[in-house]
Symmetry: C2
DNA sequence: CTATTAATTTATAATCAATATAAATTAAAT
DNA sequence: ATTTAATTTATATTGATTATAAATTAATAG
């Protein structure tokens, strides 16, 4: 709790119970959750929680760079804790999102074109290893 | 017209007037349009066109690999004609999507992890050159 | 410690892109 | 020319997100 409270205060965000719990959830679960997943998971521990608060909090956290919104083609937005820069593999079969730890090699090139790059989103879309293997069982 | 008709027939898609016009629009306009943009542009020439048809057609075309859906954080989906593989720069200020002609260097690495890669989406998000220059005028 | 003020949370309603449905139209094939 | 199947269209519905306003909570001053 204290850890997350400090992180929020450092960014100038009022550390409410709900915000602490949502930030904690995202830091501990690297499952790229949707609003609904976060809400369902925290509802047990924070029974008064409302979905609007999850939306609001994710907005605040991402505005301050603590979390990122992923660029997926899913109808629901997926979020992740901003622990380091990496790419994603999105499986068309099981819909899992898998972290791919490669750096972006073109950021500087794009900056040299005159654009200011603030975020890099790299997605590989296809069929993940597990689903490929299941096809041949 | 004939060119687009042939492309559709080759893919086994029935070449209706609406589909030909939508494919033609996408091949000629590299503005990464939304459904609404396509509908508004074609409405003049195809007055009976309905938005549902634009949705359906884009679904058919992307299923057959003629067009791609972009991974943006926008509420509306953006489409593009599949002329070659490239990345995108998305401007937070003017919301333009700019083609960035760089290849993806990690596709093979991801394949080696055991995942089957079918699409690669690379997005740089930030402030484009034009908007950066306008800030200092 | 209490009261005041401002911010946050919550419940509810509204929005809007996308999809589902079914009737009307068109195209393909005999 | 007729039948059949596919496509288009109009309409209704869905569902994620946002807007609004009331209730609650947190921060601050007295």
């Amino acid at each position: 709790m204290e850890k997350y409270k400090r992180m929020l205060v450092e960014k100038g965000i009022k550390p409410t119970f709900q915000r602490i719990k949502i930030l904690e959830y995202l830091e501990k679960h690297h499952n790229h959750p949707t609003v609904d997943m976060i809400y369902s998971a925290l509802y047990k521990k924070v029974p008064t929680l409302s979905k609007t608060t999850v939306y609001n909090t994710l907005g605040v956290l991402s505005k301050h760079g603590l979390v990122s919104v992923l660029s997926t083609l899913d109808s629901e937005a997926h979020y992740e804790y901003n622990f380091n820069s990496h790419h994603h593999f999105i499986c068309k079969v099981c819909h899992r999102i898998i972290d791919i730890d490669v750096p972006c090699t073109f950021r500087q090139y794009v900056e040299e074109l005159g654009h200011k790059v603030e975020e890099v989103h790299g997605n590989f879309v296809g069929i993940c290893k597990d689903c490929m293997e299941k096809q041949y069982e």
